[in-house]
Every structure is written in structure tokens, then in C-alpha cells.
Amino acid sequence: MERMDRSIQKGPVIAMAGRVILAAVFVYAGVAKALDPAGFAGSINGYRLLPYPACAALALYLPWLEIACGLGVLWPRTRLGALSLLFFLCLIFGGAIASAWMRDLDIGCGCFGGGEAGAAALRGSLVRSVMLALLSGVLLWVEEARCKREWDSAGAADGPRGMSAPAASGPPGGKNEVHGASEKTKALPPDAGTL
């Protein structure tokens, strides 16, 4: 029992460590590419999946999206959205790398603004992408479970009526909890969908 308690206590610490690692990887990758968008456009063009103007636009936008997502993971009010975006980004990156590997393209992944070219380098990048997708997927699942748990506990704390729910304008369990709302309100808080 004591062992179980200890593992429950460790859960948030492990999740926090995972978020910090994910944020550090994406902020670093974003900054490295934001410094040289022309080089990154060449890297995207090397995949031969998109016309060059689209590669140029992506080279200007993707690094900042990665930085925004990396920072968003650290802030509770944007965590859910940032983790969802990172999960999909990792899947897209993994798909692009896998397609380049299968087509035997002799390119580098370009994930951190350069890097070695060739099949071995692409294989390593693919493994890294899959691991990052897994990490962001697990963290997304943990975050969703945490939100639901806090939502439920907020409802239980309100007694048998079960009429309360955390307001969507703040993190569940935060200062903005609404107590004593109607059942209809619980199903869909008036400010649901806000940050």
C-alpha cells in the first residue's frame, strides 16, 4: 500500500519531467531552425513531397510552431492543445521521414537544422520521432485523465447533488472553479472551450 502511495506521488513528478524534456527538445529544434529558415526550406525540399513555395512557407512557420508548442506544454492553460499539436506533428514528421527512407532518398532529416544525410541517419531520426510521438501521446493521455479526475473530484466535493464542475477558464482545480451550478451547466459549462 505504501509502495502504491509512493508511486502515485511520483506520477506528477515523472509527468513534469516528461513535459520538460519534450519542451526542451522542441524549443531547441525550433530555435535551431528559426535561425536559418533558408537552410530548413532546402531540407524540406529534399523530401520531395511539396512544391518549393510550400517548403519555404513551412520553413518560416514550423520552427515558431515548435517553439510555441514547446512553451505551451509548460503552461497548464495551453498544455492540452500544445500536447495534441506535438503528437500530430511527431506523427507527420515520422511519416515524412519514413517515406524518405522508403524512397531511398539520400537526405538528412533537418529536424535540428542540419545533420548527417543517409539511410542510417534517417532511421535514427525515425526512431526519435516515434519516441517523441509516444511521449507526447502518453503526456496527452495523462493530462486528459488529470483534467477528468479533477473535474470529477470537484463534482464529488459538492455532495450528492454533484452539481459542480471546474470552469474551463482556468486549470481544473484552480481558482476559477464554479460550485453549485445546475446539471445542465455541469454538462457544458458556460465558458467551456476558453483557455
Binding site: 533558408a38 537552410g39 520553413a59 500544445a82 537526405i107 538528412g108 486528459e144
Partner: protein, 153 residues
Amino acid sequence: MMRNVSSILWRRGALQAGLILLAALAPAVLAAWCHPKRPAWSDDRARVDEVEWTAVRQWRSPVLMVDARSAAAFEKGHIPGALRLGAGQGDEGILAVARAWQPGAKVVVYCDSPRCDAAQSAARRLRQELGLGDVLVLKGGWSAWIEASRKGR
């Protein structure tokens, strides 16, 4: 009830994702406007011309060969006299080319095969960072050079 919570969380996540997507747009637009290393919008401007090895052999001007392949591939073998400028290399590769380049010399960059793009990236880098005008990419790369060497051309 659980479905309601899930749908609210889903909506909240989608809204947050939308805001993050929008937030990233502002610096991207700024970078497109004034970043010193912003990409060209047209492939024609960005693409470096290619040259056949048979043509390179006929040049009378000095030629500086630059190898854009991996360090391992370079160690295994390279065109005699070639300098390495890999994608993962820092400034030392560029500085080595700058030191070896003589006025009037043409620079020819190569990578493994027609499927590789590393030579294009390295050639663009040489044009942008060293301001070299006469930079070309070897058509067919290392494979074409090996083939030409076998045929004694």
C-alpha cells in the same frame, strides 16, 4: 456525463491548439519579411545549376571540389583534393573552403547520387555565406564520378 467532460476537454484542447497555431504565425510573418536568412519563394532562384563531370574535366580554370556527403562516406573515399562540407558540420567546413578557394576558381559540390539533395544545400550555403558566384553541383554526384572513373573519362 463522461462523454460531456470528454467533449468539453476536446473543445478546450482544440481552442488552445488554434491559439498556438495563430501565435506562431506572427513571428513567421515577421521572419518572412525581414529575416536575413529567409528562403527564396521560387525554386528557380534557390536551385543551383548542375554540371556533368565530362564538362568539369574540360575546364581550364582551377576547380575546387566540395564533398557534401557524410563523414563516414568521405572517409571511405572521395574525389581527389575534395574538401568536406557536410550538413551537420559547423563553420570549420566553410572556413576550409574559404581558405582553399582562389580567385577565378569554380566550386563544384557533390553528394552521393541524383537522389541526394545535400549538394544543393551545401552549394546554397557557399553562395550565401561566402558570396561565391561560380558554385555548381555535380550531376549524378559521387556515383557519376565513380562511373566516369571506371570508363576512364
